[in-house]
């Protein structure tokens, strides 16, 4: 399932492949044509991916094949023991977490988990947690503090689940508590916006000393579709809303909402997840290194100061 704006690239790639196959099958030399097409492909890729609109990036952030939390854990961590349940009501499959080893160091890790196909997505509620998911996250924050291990959170959710059961069990209350619990961590907390950073449901595990964002991920107070439905009274204006909300990695860096953009591979992370994971690995190592040696108090103070200064206003 290709995104519309990638179609010209995929078509050209298919033509090159076909030409290469024909050449080898029939023993013909098409190398000149192939070189030309490859140069054209390179230009086309640069043209399309060098001028991505905010809305195109939102689509890339949602593209199937983009590395999910479990993909990243598998690619980057030497060991991972998943821990389940909120010890109160249920285990929420929309949030995963556990203890892991990252470059030899034990860490506690948590993240939203989307499905990699429809069946998985239904089981994981499309990465939209219920209160029990955030309670599981908080339980793991307790564990990080108790064991003194760094806490790593991967954000990838359209938002917390807006349903009757979630509201009955205090969705807003538990998100607030999760923000509070995370802000109190005495260990380094690093957040990575992997794909979608949908509002409070994302922020609930987003209160890091450092917040990284993958190229072509988005992070916003509201999804472009919902914003369009409210402000333009038409969800089809999502493209304009995406532009207006300044939700791309570069915009967020400029606003101070994120601290570092992790560059992605040409063509998007969904087409080359391994390369995306390699870049993330390097960024995570460096970020954790930066936070080493700070006392628990200094870690807390660092996080407090990071969020205290966020906001733009005029002093009268």
């Amino acid at each position: 399932m290709a995104l519309e704006f990638e179609r010209p690239i995929l078509e050209l790639e298919a033509r090159i492949q076909e030409l290469e196959r024909t050449a080898s099958e029939q023993g013909l030399d098409f190398s000149e044509e192939i070189e030309l097409l490859k140069a054209k492909l390179d230009r086309l890729q640069r043209e399309i991916f060098g001028n991505l609109t905010a809305w195109q990036r939102v689509q890339l952030a949602r593209a199937p094949g983009r590395p999910t939390t479990l993909d990243v854990i598998e690619a980057l961590f030497e060991e991972f023991a998943e821990l389940r349940g909120d010890r109160a009501f249920a285990d929420d499959a929309a949030i995963v977490g556990g203890v892991a080893r990252f470059h030899g160091e034990e860490v506690v890790v948590v993240g939203h988990q989307k499905g990699r196909n429809t069946r998985e997505n239904i089981a994981r509620n499309f990465g939209m947690p219920h209160p029990e998911g955030y309670r599981k996250a908080m339980r793991l924050m307790d564990l990080a503090d108790k064991t003194g291990r760094p806490f790593i959170a991967f954000v990838d959710t359209p938002g917390a689940y807006p349903g009757v059961s979630a509201e009955e069990r205090g969705q807003a209350w538990v998100i607030a508590r999760s923000i509070q619990r995370m802000s109190r961590l005495k260990v380094p907390a690093v957040v990575v916006i992997l794909g979608e950073g949908g509002s409070g449901g994302a922020l609930a595990i987003g209160v890091g000393n450092r917040v990284l964002i993958m190229e072509n991920a988005w992070y916003s107070v509201i999804s472009p579709e919902s914003c369009a439905a409210i402000l333009w009274r038409d969800a089809k204006e999502a493209e304009r809303a995406a532009e207006a909300l300044k939700l791309t990695a570069r915009d967020l860096l400029r606003l101070g909402v994120v601290d570092r953009v992790v560059p992605g591979p040409k063509g998007g992370a969904h087409r080359n997840p391994e390369a995306a994971c390699r870049e993330l690995d390097r960024a995570l190592v460096e970020t954790l290194e930066d936070l080493k040696g700070l006392s628990p108090e200094a870690i807390w103070e660092d996080r407090y100061r990071r969020f205290r200064r966020l906001g733009v206003f005029e002093e009268v």
């Binding site: 807006p162 349903g163 009757v164 409070g200 609930a204 919902s226 606003l255 969020f307």
Partner: protein
């Protein structure tokens, strides 16, 4: 009723503008209520108990001890960090709300005493952009909590909000973390924080400081939740249960301490604060 019609007609002729109507129609049961009676009942309908929305100034008058209020908000004005334009530019939208409410943004508050307890009292103003939280509301809540901690005051916040302000994008979202973290300054001093949820309080305000209070009261019938009912209905494609997300529902589900009638609110607030505020009796 005849009187009501008479006044209406005069109003349309533009003569009685300065004279407030003598009769008011209840927004819930449509009963005609004598305005003075309604005011005396703190804008709670004597017929059906409906709690009409009241201005931030009225809230202060209702909760602060007489003559004790000293405003601290209003020195922070909103900007337009995203250059946001939807059907109109954000700065124009802001100007309109500022003219309508006479304040820079959706919050009003300051120092006060409540039943003699030194307090920082903050009231969100739903009339200003639906009480939405952007950088200014976030900063004022944060400063309010810091002021309370600094001067050993209790914190009381009257919430009313449609959620985070879209026009300030992710910066609005960040106010949820900022305000939440500011509340921790009260812990070191053992200062109490009471939240009063009014109709409606949803989204980013509910999912941050408004539900992190030591004691949470809600007004009867107030709609409080994370997602708005319309969004939920769209998601589940079913009708919502009767009374869903209303204050009484919240109490039943263990999410708030009490549904409190506005006419008893001050009394209950004073009792709560006096029991929680660090006093000479013990603790201090």
């Amino acid at each position: 009723m005849a009187l009501d019609r008479l006044f209406r007609r005069r109003r349309t002729r533009g003569q009685a503008r300065e004279v407030p109507e003598l009769w008011v129609r209840c927004a819930a049961c449509e009963a005609q209520v004598y305005r003075k009676d309604l005011e005396q009942a703190l804008w709670v309908c004597p017929e059906c108990g409906y709690h009409h929305r009241i201005s931030a100034e009225r809230w202060v008058a209702l909760l602060a001890d007489e003559g004790s209020f000293e405003p601290t908000t209003g020195r922070v004005r909103p900007a337009d960090p995203l250059g946001f334009v939807d059907t109109e530019p954000y700065p124009e939208r802001l100007r309109r709300y500022q003219e309508k409410t006479g304040r820079p943004d959706a919050i009003h508050g300051g120092r006060a005493t409540v039943g003699g307890v030194p307090t920082v009292l903050l009231v969100m103003d739903y009339a200003f952009a639906g009480g939405s939280m952007g950088s200014v509301v976030g900063e004022e809540i944060t400063r309010g909590a810091e002021l309370a901690a600094e001067e050993n005051r209790a914190l009381v916040i009257v919430a009313a909000s449609g959620g985070a302000r879209m026009q300030e994008g992710a910066l609005s979202l960040m106010q949820m973390a900022k305000t939440t973290m500011a509340l921790d300054r009260l812990f070191a001093k053992r200062l109490p924080y009471v939240s009063i949820l009014t109709d409606p309080t949803t989204g980013g305000v509910t999912a941050s400081f408004a539900t992190l209070a030591d004691v949470i009261f809600a007004e009867p019938g107030a709609l409080v939740g994370f997602a708005g009912p319309r969004v939920i209905k769209q998601t589940i494609r079913q009708d919502l249960p009767e009374g869903f997300q209303r204050a009484e529902f919240l109490q039943k589900h263990g999410l708030i301490d009490a549904v409190v009638d506005r006419r008893q609110l001050k009394e209950q607030l004073v009792q709560t604060l006096s029991l929680l505020y660090p006093g000479e009796g013990h603790g201090a």
